[in-house]
């Protein structure tokens, strides 16, 4: 019998990413991974792009992974897993394996939006039966907070620093979830660890759908966001409630908003506690803060329209 998604039931399950890994205190990524792996009772094999999650969970003679896990390089978590999944199908066809196994790739935004986009696009187009999960913290955090194409407009990073002439990143984020949905894959979704039930339901649903699935999950990084270590979930909630990070899914081309905030809070409330946006609250950068709010509003409206159209 499958485990129900209730705290009582879930608390009895063993973590598949165990304690003792070396992710930073307050990091969103291990929380996201634990939720993802708790959401299913199926055996899971994971691949992992080079990045914080990878370098901190499998060092020298130790591993925090209680499931079969493979890391090969930065840009190819999807391609690597597509190989594992293909071998599984081949051996299953030849009668050498009979178990039902699920496949999940984990990559950060650098390894997914940027350097891994081709590998991801290829794997999704080929139709491998797997879920690709991007834990999106909005920059190359492992190498020291460099700008990625997931870095939000206005953010201060080490390669787009807020200087006296240029006030941080002047480009908007790439909308990866929509890009993946445009591959006409059966399931693409966005989730946040603040809304754990929504996140886990989506993972569970994705596992029951045959073919390639993509999930983009917000993953606060207190080092890069320059926020308090105990603020990850609060900030995730503000990201959702400001509609900076709306929760939705696109199943067979039908868009559904899975959570609508009772009251849409200004995006400044999400940004204010984060050092990476500090400069936007100076009077000379008011225009940029306004531009961020306008963009969030525009995208939220667009998403609502898409959801209405079905």
């Amino acid at each position: 019998m499958a485990t129900g998604l209730t705290l009582k039931e879930l608390s009895k399950k063993e973590d598949r990413l165990t304690h003792g890994h070396r992710m930073c205190s307050g990091c969103g990524a291990p929380t996201v991974v634990k939720m993802v792996l708790l959401a299913t009772d199926y055996p899971v094999i994971a691949s992992n792009a080079t990045g914080c999650l990878e370098v901190s969970t499998c060092i020298s003679e130790y591993t925090a992974w209680k499931i079969p896990w493979i890391h090969t390089a930065f840009e190819n978590a999807a391609a690597t897993l597509s190989g594992v999944e293909t071998m599984y199908r081949s051996l299953k066809k030849r009668g050498m394996i009979d178990k039902e196994i699920k496949f999940i790739a984990f990559g950060g935004d650098g390894g997914t939006y940027d350097i891994g986009l081709q590998s991801l696009s290829g794997a999704m187009e080929r139709g491998h039966d797997m879920i690709y999960i991007c834990y999106d913290n909005g920059a190359y955090m492992n190498t020291g907070i460099q700008r990625s194409s997931a870095t939000p407009l206005g953010a201060d990073t080490t390669t787009c620093p807020a200087g006296s002439v240029i006030p941080g990143k002047l480009r908007s984020r790439k909308d990866l979830t929509k890009i993946m949905a445009a591959h006409n894959i059966p399931y693409a979704a966005q989730a946040s660890p603040s809304h754990w039930m929504d996140l886990m339901k989506k993972v569970k649903k994705a596992h029951e759908i045959k073919g390639p699935k993509f999930m983009n999950i917000l993953s606060p990084c207190n080092r890069g966001w320059r926020s308090k270590t105990n603020d990850s979930i609060t900030l995730s909630k503000l990201a959702v409630n400001s509609c900076y990070w709306p929760l939705y899914e696109i199943e067979d081309g039908v868009t559904k908003i899975t959570y609508t905030p009772k009251e849409k809070v200004p995006v400044a409330e999400f940004m204010k506690p984060q050092g990476r946006f500090k400069h936007l609250f100076a009077p000379e950068n008011e225009w940029l803060l306004k531009a961020v709010q306008e963009e969030v509003d525009k995208e939220w409206e667009k998403l609502q329209k898409e959801a209405k159209c079905g």
Partner: protein
């Protein structure tokens, strides 16, 4: 019973792969390899093999997927050339570092720029230090035979390393030659069942592939890779012995041609060895003791055996179909390293020939042998390294 056929090198390799019937194959087009994987894709489409193919979107993903598939636990193949091998470069190190016996025919082709699709050895020489076993092939027959033997070598439980089987682009990949196929069941029996080692798909024993290893142990891991390479020679020879029993064709670490009593000799890889052998015969007819050494196993390189074979020659020209700009040709560097430890050693010169598919003609070999003949008689070496067949 052997079947005599007239086929291209690509067709020969594709048929070797068909007979092996691997579990997974990564497929991506690149000239001049394309035709090999196209043929293999037809074998899949026509049910001649039950291999699962991955029609990847780049060679980088091809090697990544092959690594994933091999780690999952099964027999994995792909093939490439030139830019494709260059794009794989990062992943080649990971395939060998993870000790995954992936088998890959490499149809040798020049590297850009300028863009050129024809045969030279720049691609595989660029992959020399990636930790792969490299076996080189003169013609379609050798390409076929080496591909079959590669499975036994790479998958040997003492080795577990990926293997490149090199053959010359167009000259061999696209030229039709007479050769002999083995029977399907003979090949199947020779290669045997794939033996798993720490497969990811074993849920009973979850394994983590690809850890972070820093200053504490990285050095030791690399030494382990070096040590396993030292065992490859013996396995190559054992496999060759078994292969000879089945096919009647003899293979070693390298081939020698009229070398035993030679005063002058060429060291030359792959297809150009054939042309050189013809020229050697004409020199022998003139009473000049010319000979040849054609390396087969290039990584690991059999330094001692090569030195032993060349030590009595007076003058040797190492022929490189690739260059290390600002250095000597890559094969020359190996041969000089091999001979350095011998007291009485031949005089060595290095010629760069045939880049980007430039024809290697008998007249080129004749010029080289004439120069070697003078050197053997005491003439001074004018240039250690020189381009031949070059338009001025």
């Amino acid at each position: 019973m052997a079947k005599v056929v007239a086929v291209t090198g690509n067709e020969a390799c594709a048929n070797a792969l068909r007979q092996v019937n691997p579990d997974v194959c990564g497929i991506y087009p690149i000239t001049p390899q394309t035709d090999m994987m196209q043929r293999f894709a037809s074998f899949i489409a026509d049910g001649k093999v039950d291999t699962e193919s991955i029609l990847v979107e780049s060679e980088h993903s091809s090697m990544s997927a092959c690594i994933g598939a091999a780690a999952a636990g099964g027999r994995v193949v792909t093939a490439t050339s030139s830019q494709g091998l260059a794009l794989m470069w990062e992943m080649l190190h990971i395939a060998s570092g993870d000790r995954l016996p992936i088998i890959m025919p490499v149809v040798n082709r020049a590297l850009s720029a300028p863009l050129n699709i024809h045969g030279d050895h720049s691609d595989a020489m660029g992959a020399r230090d990636t930790g792969w076993i490299q076996i080189w092939s003169e013609n379609a027959q050798e390409s076929y035979d080496n591909t079959i033997q590669a499975f036994r070598i790479g998958e040997h439980m003492d080795i577990r390393l990926p293997v490149m089987v090199c053959l010359d682009g167009f000259i061999i990949s696209h030229s039709i030659e007479r050769m002999e196929y083995l029977e399907d069941d003979e090949v199947k029996k020779f290669v045997g069942e794939f033996k798993n080692f720490l497969p990811l798909l074993n849920l009973e024993k979850p394994i983590s592939y690809g850890p972070l290893i820093l200053t504490d142990l990285y050095h030791e891991y690399k030494r382990a890779q070096h040590e396993v390479m030292t065992k490859v020679k013996d396995v190559v020879l054992d496999v060759a012995k078994d292969f000879e029993k089945m096919s009647g064709r003899k293979y070693g670490l390298f081939e020698t041609y009229r070398l035993d009593d030679a005063d002058i000799a060429l060291v030359i890889l792959n297809s150009a060895a054939g042309t050189s052998k013809d020229v050697i015969d004409t020199f022998r007819d003139k009473g000049i003791k010319a000979g040849l050494l054609k390396p087969r196993l290039f990584r690991p390189f059999p330094y001692e055996e090569v030195a032993e074979a060349l030590k009595s020659v007076k003058a040797v020209c190492v022929m490189d179909r690739a260059d290390s700009f600002g250095g000597y040709g890559p094969l020359f560097m190996e041969i000089t390293s091999a001979l350095y430890h011998i007291k009485e050693r031949p005089v060595l010169i290095n010629k760069i020939y045939g880049l980007g598919g430039r024809d290697y003609l008998p007249s080129h070999a004749e010029l080289v042998f004439n120069e070697l003949n003078e050197i053997a008689k005491g003439a001074k070496v004018k240039n250690i390294k020189e381009y031949i067949g070059v338009r001025e």
